[in-house]
């Protein structure tokens, strides 16, 4: 089946959107390997995984999840505002708000990492937990949240630049580019949606 047969005449292929979706599909495989490693560890060292997860900060993790879900809704609203001439004055402000929420997320994450470093939860010779598998959990924890944070930094930067460009009415900060950047931001949100229960909520009742 060719691309032409999948498209209605009214659906002109939006190359920017399509390109971002192809990129996001490759990102699914990028993060996918880490999720496989996670499932292997959790099924082979369930006790170590549960013990290690209880040392993550569930309050900060939940606050960050709420922040990211909210930022996703805000950027979706920004795209909707851009498409309506009467609401367009809100676009730049909503984009800036999204970037700010992302920045707050990163600051909170930084505090979390700092506390975990102080508690000797960073994998290494002085690792604090003496349960098989706990160190492997924290290897994955830092790799997954670190990679996610790199994606967040890119997203915050892109949205901040677009907010500035949109407030100055620049041509490159118009609807098409906004939607592509928003797609990327939503994907970063979706990755965190899965990281939250897998890293923070393994077995809180123990």
């Amino acid at each position: 089946m060719t691309a032409a047969t999948l498209l209605e005449p009214k659906d002109e292929p939006d190359i920017g959107k399509l390109g971002m979706w192809v990129f996001l599909a490759s990102e699914v495989l990028f993060f996918g390997g880490l999720f496989l490693a996670y499932l292997y560890g959790r099924t082979h060292w369930p006790l170590g995984w549960a013990a290690a997860s209880r040392h993550t900060d569930v309050v900060l993790g939940t606050v960050n999840t709420a922040l990211l879900l909210t930022s996703s809704a805000v950027v979706a609203l920004a795209v909707a505002c851009e498409e309506d001439a009467r609401q367009r004055r809100w676009t730049a402000r909503l984009l800036a708000l999204t970037a700010a929420l992302g920045a707050v997320f990163l600051v909170i994450k930084g505090f979390e990492w700092h506390a975990e470093w102080d508690e000797h939860l960073f994998p290494g010779p002085s690792f604090a937990l003496d349960v098989a598998g706990a160190q492997e959990f924290f290897v994955l924890y830092f790799v997954m949240t670190g990679l996610h944070a790199v994606h967040m930094i890119v997203g915050v930067g892109a949205l901040a630049i677009l907010a500035r460009g949109r407030s100055r009415d620049r041509e490159w900060a118009r609807s098409g580019h906004l939607e592509v950047a928003a797609l990327y931001w939503h994907f970063v949100d979706v990755v965190w949606i899965f990281l939250y229960p897998l890293l923070y909520l393994v077995q809180r009742h123990g």
Binding site: K17, L24, P46, G48, S72, A73, A76, E83, G133
Partner: protein, 117 residues
Amino acid sequence: MADESTFARTARRLGVAWCALLALMLSSLGSAYLKLGPWNLISGLVIAAIKATIVAWLFMRLRESGPLIRLVAVVGLGVWCILIGLSGVDYETRSLTPSAVQRPQQLLSPQAASQPH
């Protein structure tokens, strides 16, 4: 150009989706404090999948997208499912066989390795 009612409808839909996402997040948090055994993992993943579907369908606009974009979105997920399935067949049917560079503790069986030292 979208008229006022179209925008208002979109904004209301986004607001409802946001509330649903926060409610699902809290239900996921609550379920982690219940003794559900393996269902803790399953419930966490099912709730996450529902949240991801809401984000993809409404925020990422798969609801309004043409078949080509929907196909690309599904292919990424489908290929990952195939790869994780094939990898699972390998990893789940072999005992732990560490390489020469791994620590002696990792020669323990999964059951023994799960016990505190």
